[in-house]
């Protein structure tokens, strides 16, 4: 595991520092103006942040748990599979919830620049007509969607990982 870490840690750290919006034009060139480039932008923008957050969370795990697992006869692979990953899942959901904010930012920015549909596209289209009366309901819709996603993830976390909510 330390080897995997030393190989990829620096890589992720550098990738995470690239401002995703700055490479949006490159994505448009590679993936065209369709949906793919927007999905790619969100992935590139959000994934490194989530990854680095997960790395930090794994570091936070008490050493004792690893030693204990070893005394129960676990191999490195088994520790990863049965101890580390299951404990990281609810934290992954937390991390994704926090990242939703920037995911929306990337989506709307991408739609504003090149799109034929989507809420962000419509808002920026209406901007030309100063149509505040229509923009505001769109903003409300986006907020509602974002809130629903966040709420859904929170419920999922409660349902799937009951041990996480009650921990000290």
């Amino acid at each position: 595991m330390p080897y995997v870490r030393t190989t990829f840690n620096g890589f992720v750290a550098v990738i995470a520092m690239i401002p995703p919006l700055a490479i949006l034009p490159i994505l448009f060139i590679i993936f065209g103006l369709g949906e793919t480039s927007k999905v790619a932008l969100i992935v590139i923008g959000v994934a490194p942040v989530v990854m680095r957050d997960m790395i930090l969370r794994v570091d936070e795990m008490p050493r004792e748990l690893m030693v204990k697992a070893q005394t129960l006869g676990a191999s490195t692979w088994q520790i990863a599979l049965r101890v580390v990953v299951p404990q990281m899942m609810p934290r992954l959901i937390d991390s994704v919830r926090l990242s939703l904010c920037s995911a929306w930012l990337f989506l709307i920015a991408a739609e504003a620049i090149a799109s034929q549909s989507g809420l962000g596209y419509r808002i920026f289209l209406l901007r030309r007509y100063l149509a505040m009366d229509t923009i505001l309901p769109y903003v409300a819709w986006i907020t509602l969607l974002a809130f629903a996603l966040d709420f859904g993830l929170r419920r999922l976390q409660h349902k799937a990982f009951p041990w996480f909510a009650g921990r000290a």
Binding site: E64, K68, W77, Q78, L81, R82, P86, P162, W163, G166
Partner: protein, 272 residues
């Protein structure tokens, strides 16, 4: 029944000597209590027995063989905290040890093997008094119950050596007395060699067959860098504990054992 011998072990961190000249011969089925002031290296010593750390110099032999470089299943451990896995229920925590052994790829058992492992785990949990809490998560347990769980978890691997790092330090006195009774009973039944680090001298003398004190013989500020702690006292606890238990187990059950224990001369009563 495992003999441990520690031969002139030194431990240094970045040139700072923590432990020096530690030599110890431990008979099979001993209960060794390690005491000493904070920072004197008794926990470090325990971690070396666990292979979580390696001695800078010297050897630790178990049954005449050198310790492997990593913690293994023949040495169980209970820490003061973080000994149980928060994401597994009480039963799953104990079954886990079985699953690691018999399913190298997935670390999970299915069907009949799973049922069997669960039954065995439930049996051990009942023995430590957690028979009614099988489906709870550790966060729903009290501190004492969590430590019972940690002990059960270690026991399912049938370790030859059990290492306890201040296991009962965070418990209140009533719970502590109960868990002491349990610990002595398990120690007698399983014939393990136990090493326990503790701050509580009465606990050390109550549980141990032998009490080992660590301290720094030279402790002036300018000496602290180059001189480590070593064993300063090595006391056998009287009356000796295990001959009693061995004859006892030839003849009877555990409940009588505890009565005998209470009746022993010179001992404080246990488990009120």
């Amino acid at each position: 029944m495992t003999a441990v011998s520690v031969k002139n072990v030194w431990k240094e961190y970045d040139g700072r000597v923590v432990l020096e000249q530690v030599s110890l011969e431990v008979e099979p089925h001993s209960f060794i209590a390690l005491v000493g002031p904070s920072g004197c290296g008794k926990s470090t010593f325990l971690r070396m027995l666990l292979s979580a750390e390696t001695p800078t110099k010297g050897d630790i032999l178990v049954e005449g063989e050198r310790l492997p470089g990593e913690p293994t299943a023949d040495r169980g451990v209970v820490f003061q905290r973080y000994s149980v896995f928060p994401h597994l229920t009480v039963l799953e925590n104990v079954v886990l040890g079985k699953e690691f052994a018999s399913s190298p790829l997935l670390g999970k058992l299915f069907g009949k093997a799973k049922k069997q492992a669960r039954e065995e785990a439930a049996e051990i949990l009942t023995a430590v008094g957690l028979g009614h809490s099988l489906d709870l998560y550790p966060s729903q347990l009290s501190g004492g119950m969590q430590q019972r769980l940690a002990i059960a978890q270690a026991l399912i691997k049938r370790p030859r050596i059990l290492l306890l790092d201040e296991p009962f330090g965070a418990l209140d006195p009533g719970i502590r007395a109960e868990i002491h009774v349990l610990m002595l009973k398990l120690w007698r039944e399983t014939k393990m060699t136990v090493f326990m680090v503790t701050h509580d001298l009465s606990e050390a003398f109550h549980l141990g067959t032998r009490v080992i004190a660590f301290d720094r013989p030279r402790n002036r500020p300018e000496e602290r860098e180059r001189y480590g702690a070593t064993i300063t006292h090595d006391l056998a606890v009287w009356p000796p504990k295990y001959p009693v238990s061995d004859t006892h187990f030839a003849s009877g059950g555990t409940t009588r054992l505890l009565d005998e224990l209470e009746a022993l001369p010179g001992r404080p009563g246990v488990g009120h």
